[in-house]
Symmetry: C2
Subunit: 105 residues, 2 copies
DNA sequence: ACTATATATCGCTTTATTTCAATATTCAAT
DNA sequence: ATTGAATATTGAAATAAAGCGATATATAGT
């Protein structure tokens, strides 16, 4: 895990962060037990998409697109269990991104 | 200098970074002696807008807008000397931003 | 005063992003 | 097989951002 992210990847990551709702989502996923205490499934799986929809107040399709953007950027990943998709943060990627930004900026 | 930047300010800053040309500019300004060795005025004043125009290859008006965006976000500031506007980085602001991003992300 | 240079601003067009409703897909339960 | 629930994808409309040329403003030199 000592790979230098490309400039294109960095670009995608920064763009992914440039929408406040996407930053909110990342933040909520940092403390699922605080923000998604009502989830029926164990939070260890991640947070399921529907819960995130609710919290944003945006339409299901819009939030799905935001989640896809975050995932393409590498900030989150999802595991599918049954009909649910559980999302969680990729802490290493986030850390790596911050380090990179410290250098590059 | 112990002030917590607002969420709106953070938003403006991240948006300012979300364009590759603006990140390039910030980067060039980090080492003016490398990227603007040909400037006639002393680099200690900052880098003058025209030089930046040249380097980007974009039109004068477009670059002027990019510089304004970076300045509104607080990343750079300018001093006017005669007919020239010299731009330079606000290192403290940049550092503050990075710290804030580390927390918030 | 006039001309030239540097930069900003305006008006406009093009491109990208966000959003939603509607539809499609996938899996579970009957 | 059908139905229902969760999520993704598609198509279209609205909004925002980027770009340019032309014009405005400010300063310098003649």
């Amino acid at each position: 895990m000592n790979y230098k992210m490309s400039s294109a990847e960095l670009d995608e990551m920064i763009k992914a962060l440039s929408h406040p709702v996407r930053r909110d989502i990342l933040n909520w996923l940092k403390q699922p037990e605080v923000y998604f205490a009502d989830q029926e499934h164990p939070l260890s799986l991640g947070v399921c998409a529907g819960k995130i929809d609710q919290k944003t107040g945006l339409s299901q399709s819009t939030v799905s697109a935001h989640l896809a953007t975050l995932q393409r950027a590498g900030f989150i990943s999802s595991k599918k269990v049954g009909q649910w998709h559980f999302f969680s943060r990729n802490e290493e990627v986030i850390q790596h991104f911050l380090t990179r930004l410290n250098d590059q900026l």
